[in-house]
């Protein structure tokens, strides 16, 4: 059992396509022991590849690729529902696993030769926007060679641009060196693939994961940290992460939903009103870490303590894209560049786009 086995199985006709779930993992120590803990009742076996493990068998079987030390790929040919239910339960009950939370922009250009075929925009603003908004819930699926065209047209209508937010996409990918694969990709880092090249599928997963990692790690360089000076005193590096959005029409609704403890934000906190703004000492329940917020009508500051996971900030922004403003953006130009998949230190700071 090795990667070649997976490649062979991928290329064979199969009633079920391959599903790949990318999960951010923070193992403490040995990977096998950690996977056994994650796998609960599922047996875990090593393979010929020291980074590849087999978890489970029969009805529910995963091939876990841990070559990327932070973002692990759980490949499976088992039923999607069973695999998703199992992984979701593990992620919800643990604080050391998290999904990828791909911004809309990161669902585009997954491979240089990829042809976009299907696109779903899914914006659910009912809980954060009051009655009377132009577009509170917008769900549009377009199948065709110009899938992005309709969304661009919708975005051009007054009041609709903030309600366009890409949830999933499908591409046909032909590569002269690798082969062919059809890839469907969901914003939580879930891939469904069929074709003749497992290698191409892996490379697409790696490309998407790699640019997501760049954004997460860039945010981690901004966390607030204190260092002593040699002769006494101390200095500070980093600072709050600034996130900007359209004017909030109802601040009460906005903060109540964000700190309700419910999915998708899963933030715990008791917002304290300070004039026209709010301060919240919150807990990110996905990872079990305290973070503080200042929330104003058009921006929020996120105070990430040293050692924080950058996924916290990306998850927040990605969820705001789908719940409040599809055009949300980072105040920091470099973060916005990584968010928009532009070269860092080369983009404008306004950055208002839906990634279309």
């Amino acid at each position: 059992m090795n990667r070649a086995t997976l490649a062979k199985r991928f290329a064979e006709p199969s009633p079920a396509p391959l599903k790949t779930f990318v999960v951010e993992a923070h193992p403490n120590g040995d990977r096998v022991e950690y996977l056994r803990d994650v796998g609960a009742d599922l047996p875990v076996e090593s393979t010929e590849d020291r980074y590849l493990f087999r978890m489970g068998g029969g009805e529910l079987e995963f091939f876990v690729d841990t070559l990327d030390d932070r973002f692990w790929s759980f490949h499976t040919w088992s039923k999607s529902g069973d695999a998703q239910t199992f992984l979701k339960a593990q992620l919800e009950s643990r604080r050391d696993l998290d999904w990828m939370w791909l911004p809309s922009q990161h669902l585009k250009d997954v491979w240089p030769t990829a042809d976009l075929r299907t696109l779903l925009s899914d914006f659910r603003g009912q809980k954060m926007l009051p009655d009377g908004e132009v577009a509170r819930d917008v769900r549009v699926r377009v199948d065709g060679a110009d899938s992005a065209g309709l969304l661009k047209w919708i975005s051009s209508k007054p009041g609709y641009a903030p309600a366009v937010s890409v949830d999933r996409v499908a591409y046909e990918v032909d590569d002269p060196d690798f082969g062919h694969t059809t890839e469907a990709l969901h914003r939580l880092g879930r891939f469904v693939a069929a074709g003749d090249s497992f290698e191409l599928h892996q490379e697409i997963v790696r490309r998407v994961t790699s640019r997501y990692r760049d954004l997460v790690e860039l945010i981690e360089t901004r966390t607030l940290s204190f260092e002593p000076l040699a002769e006494g005193g101390l200095t500070i590096s980093g600072g709050p992460v600034l996130i900007r959005y359209r004017p909030v029409p109802d601040m009460g609704l906005f903060v109540d939903e964000m700190f309700s403890g419910r999915e998708p934000f899963r933030l715990w906190g008791a917002p304290e009103e300070e004039g026209e703004a709010f301060h919240v000492d919150a807990v990110d329940l996905h990872v079990g870490q305290r973070i503080a917020f200042d929330i104003a009508q058009t921006w929020l500051r996120l105070y990430l303590p040293q050692g924080s996971c950058g996924n916290t900030a990306v998850r927040l922004v990605a969820n705001l894209q789908h719940r409040f403003d599809g055009q949300v953006f980072f105040g920091d130009r470099d973060l916005q560049s990584a968010f928009d998949l532009l070269p860092v230190s080369a983009s404008a700071s306004s950055g208002v786009s839906n990634g279309l």
Partner: protein
């Protein structure tokens, strides 16, 4: 919790030196960077601590900010600041100089708007007329003596519009009262619940809540730890089914908080409701205990008030 006035000036200086905080970053934009906080310095008078030191390496310019929460000027400190040696600050703050020019220095007092005139007057009377930067909810304003640096004058002379208080980068000090620690400590304890941990010591909590804790002086450390401990006691009283304060014992030298239960013990719906209950109590304080039900004797006696003698006396009774 609003930033207390005594911490506004130092956070305003930090904000001016930090990009992308939602506050003006004019000093950062002109190349100034924070060199240090609480930097020791020696003068011909004695030694002192400088609240904040910033430097612009390309022009070898150093700025010392004296951050005043109130309106009193320590004249001895003003004399020390007047006698500062720029080269000495470069050494103690490990500033990297990038120009061959001599090092120049500006000292600026940073204070709340309501105290600015008083501070300017006190400095002038002491013949240490430093420039003053005042902070209100809507602007920063330069008063008092001019700056020696043209760059600093370009940035700070006149007014800079701001919207609200600066970001709370430095949130706690030795004067922070217990009630300001409570929401932060409570969030840390809820984070511990989410991990299903069973106990956390007060020193560990203090280090998490006050990130600069390791670099504080011994006295300040003690003061901060005592307040975090008091916050733990208060939270344990407010949420007695969730947390229990454990004082130091012979077996355990450090005070700690025991975590008695966690919303994570429930299914998805119960878990969310469990966290929401904690948030409701955090917003409103603990539910008021219901008064005990009165016993039958108390109710019997109450009859005296609801039945008058006239109603009970028999007609014709003598």
């Amino acid at each position: 919790m609003p930033l207390p006035p005594r911490l506004v000036p130092v956070n305003a200086v930090l904000a001016l030196l930090t990009a992308n905080t939602g506050w003006p970053s004019d000093l950062f934009d002109r190349g100034y960077r924070l060199a240090g906080l609480e930097v020791p310095a020696s003068t011909k008078h004695s030694t002192t601590r400088l609240d904040a030191v910033a430097a612009r390496g390309v022009s070898n310019h150093v700025v010392v900010a004296e951050c005043k929460g109130g309106g009193n000027v320590d004249l001895d400190q003003a004399d020390k600041l007047n006698a500062l040696d720029a080269d000495g600050i470069v050494r103690t703050a490990s500033i990297d100089l990038q120009s061959a020019a001599p090092v120049t220095l500006d000292v600026v007092y940073v204070c709340m708007e309501e105290h600015a005139e008083r501070i300017v007057t006190a400095l002038e009377s002491n013949e240490t007329p430093f420039p003053v930067l005042s902070i209100s909810g809507s602007e920063l304003r330069h008063l008092g003596a001019p700056f020696t640096s043209d760059t600093l004058s370009d940035v700070l002379v006149g007014t800079i519009a701001v919207s609200g208080p600066p970001p709370a980068i430095l949130r706690f000090d030795d004067q922070t009262p217990v009630e300001e620690f409570v929401p932060v400590v409570r969030a840390e304890l809820v984070a511990e619940q989410s991990h299903r941990r069973e106990i956390i010591t007060v020193p560990t909590l203090t280090e998490r809540v006050v990130p600069q804790y390791a670099y504080l002086g011994k006295t300040v450390k003690g003061a901060v730890t005592r307040r975090v401990e008091a916050a733990c006691k208060r939270i344990s009283q407010d949420l007695p089914d969730d947390f229990q304060f454990r004082p130091p014992t012979g077996e355990f030298a450090e005070p700690a908080v025991k975590i008695l239960r966690s919303p994570e013990d429930h299914d998805t719906r119960g878990r969310t409701q469990g966290y929401q209950r904690l948030a409701r109590i955090a917003r409103k304080g603990p539910p008021k205990p219901k008064p005990p039900l009165p016993g039958h004797l108390r109710l019997f006696e109450e009859l005296d008030d609801v039945v008058t003698d006239d109603e009970t006396s028999e007609e014709g009774e003598a």
